[in-house]
């Protein structure tokens, strides 16, 4: 089957909308996972304390949203895996399509999924602060870190989106490789286990994680994601249609 360039975009759009409908439970999964994270945070799972002379006890309850962020990133991994599963791919064949349109619609879906995470994660941080304030009142809460300025909220949203996109693209590419040959499972496992022990990992960590300029960070992540997505399209392009 072939598609002319002229009707690629309408097909991608149709497939994307169909995937959005068919894979809507992904969004539900992220909602559930984030609600669990919010409950963990509200119930104060992390605290520091010390006792002075056995008389005074001091306790600092830390309401960190890190676990919600990690859960959200795990959803990005999950989304990139599940969109490549047979059930999700079968959606593509409801239309006259090819690998390119299938990949592009999946990528568009993953971008939408990342956008959803980018909206919900920063809002959940504000939500938790609001709930805690209503529960505890002002006299036991330190102002440090409590205030999130609108600029920080936007920054948090952008960073979440970029990290989700980054991990989605890597996972998507990995799944495409595995689809081509199951031998890549061993290669990818080896890379996952060995890479953190090498200097390359530290370099990558510094390259992305230690980038303090938001614009530079955006460029780095977007370029990397485009490379992984393009590689995915190229690698999957000559795979059998219903493989």
């Amino acid at each position: 089957m072939s598609l002319t360039k002229n009707n690629l975009l309408p097909i991608v759009k149709k497939q994307y909308l169909y995937k959005l409908q068919g894979c809507s439970k992904f969004f539900l999964v992220m909602v559930i996972v984030q609600i669990i994270g919010i409950l963990f945070t509200i119930c104060n799972m992390t605290s520091k304390s010390y006792t002075s002379d056995g008389v005074l006890t001091f306790m600092l309850l830390e309401n960190t949203t890190t676990q919600i962020f990690i859960f959200t990133i795990i959803c990005a991994f999950g989304g990139a895996i599940v969109i490549n599963l047979k059930e999700a791919k079968d959606i593509d064949f409801t239309f006259v399509s090819n690998r390119i349109s299938s990949n592009l619609s999946s990528i568009a879906f993953l971008i939408t999924y990342a956008l959803f995470g980018a909206i919900t994660f920063p809002l959940s941080a504000c939500f938790i602060r609001g709930v805690k304030y209503l529960l505890l009142g002002s006299k036991n809460i330190f102002d440090r870190g409590f205030v999130i300025t609108p600029a920080e909220l936007l920054c948090s949203s952008g960073t979440t989106f970029l990290y989700m996109l980054f991990f989605s693209s890597i996972t998507y590419f990995s799944i495409i490789l595995i689809e081509r040959s199951k031998a890549f499972i061993i290669v990818l496992l080896a890379v996952t286990v060995l890479l953190p022990r090498t200097e390359y990992f530290n370099y990558a960590n510094n390259f992305y994680g230690s980038e303090h300029n938001f614009l530079m960070f955006t460029v780095k992540i977007i370029v990397t994601s485009i490379v992984f997505f393009l590689a995915s399209i190229l690698f999957s392009n000559n795979v059998e249609v219903r493989k």
Binding site: S24, L56, F121, S124, S156, H212
Partner: protein, 199 residues
Amino acid sequence: MRNKYIKLIVSIYLALLVIGTIVYYFIPKEKLIEAQAAISSRETQKRFIAVFDNITALPKMKLEGDRNIESYTFNYEGNALRIMNENNKKQIFVDKKSISDNKVEVYVYKASSALGGIDITDKIKGPSIEMINNYLNIEYEKKEYKYTVFPKDITITQFYERDKSKMYSQYSGGGTCIIYIKVPKDLVILHDEEIKYVE
């Protein structure tokens, strides 16, 4: 689950988050406790030792406005005074004045206290000190101080507060006290626990 239920759940969740965020932005933030960076444990210890070595300087330090010192003055006309220091082993220094002015002055030095790098010295109440008949009661109420802090989200700290975050160590400590009591020269001090006399 059918799509329309999923849409409904996701919409409710989004609506709750948006409402929560709107409520959050209307919270009067100025009512929150201002978090000041605590001094280091080393500096706290250094100051404590300095006070210990020069305990008679406490009244002067109090006059100079040292916020770590609380003071009490009691009129007392008896010949003997029993110091009760129950349930705690605070360092107590007794200094006999050169005059008999019928006044017992008590100075409490609270070492600086920190919780996760935040100064909480002002939040901590010193021991309650009361004069009841011929007893000077020094009692430390068992108390639990519980505070909540919100570290900035990791998605923000990568770009904001890189240097400011270094201001805060994670040090927790303090809460210890030294008590300095100035008594009239002829007053006899009775005590069950150890006290030190200032020469």
